[in-house]
Amino acid sequence: MSVVAAGYLARRTAQKERVRILYRRALKDTLNWAVHRHLFYEDADLLRARFETNKHVEDLDTIDRMIADGEAQYNKWRHPDPYIVPWAPGGSKFTRNPTPPEGIEILYNYGREDND
């Protein structure tokens, strides 16, 4: 009996994590699709409402199916050119001007001593 309960809890925890990560990604994607901030707020409320409608579903298999359905929809509507923080991989500043290795110094006044 306790094994069944433990299995139930483990499955429930995994589902909750999947839902949180799905919501997080979907919310970020909503921001990517929104041209203006005030449009994002409305879209985010709609997204939240879609998650809230299925808040009280108890059956594990139904929940799994709903999560898979949500992930499929997220993948279908994923933004082709999402915002990436500049320093992150794929961002506009990623590995641009990397810090020189330890012990290397750049002399900005190189050659000036000859001309003085």
Binding site: R20, R24, N109
Partner: protein, 122 residues
């Protein structure tokens, strides 16, 4: 040629190491690392900004927010609300937190700790 080799075997040119022992993050003198991220945040500043973000969240009562507060246990939020708070924190500090790590941040304390230790928070 043999003489040169013999001389070279005995003469050592003293190598001078560059005196760059100070913190390369701190801009000192003529050294300026163009890509460096030198505005490191102090812990107080991080805590202030994290708390102001949490306080401005619509469903939160601002008077109950302290640095030790847990989003779900103390503030009465649910898990999706804490996802929204973490996303707001990411925007505030211009961070990109991986999904799995962002999922673990569930209290002000953890958020302050994570952001303070992040090298690119600004």
């Amino acid at each position: 040629m043999a003489l040169r080799a013999a001389v070279l075997r005995h003469i050592r040119v003293p190598v001078q190491t560059l005196g760059l022992k100070s913190n390369p993050r701190a801009p000192s003198g003529s050294i300026r690392l163009m890509s460096s991220h030198d505005d490191h945040l102090s812990k107080e500043e991080v805590a202030d900004r994290v708390l102001s973000v949490v306080k401005s969240f619509p469903k939160v009562d601002p008077s109950r927010v302290t640095p030790e507060v847990h989003f779900q246990k103390d503030l009465g939020l649910d898990s999706l609300d804490s996802v929204e708070i973490v996303m707001a924190l990411e925007e505030e500090f211009k961070l990109e937190i991986p999904d799995k790590e962002a999922d673990k941040i569930d209290s002000c304390n953890l958020a302050i700790e994570y952001i303070h230790n992040h090298p690119l928070a600004s």
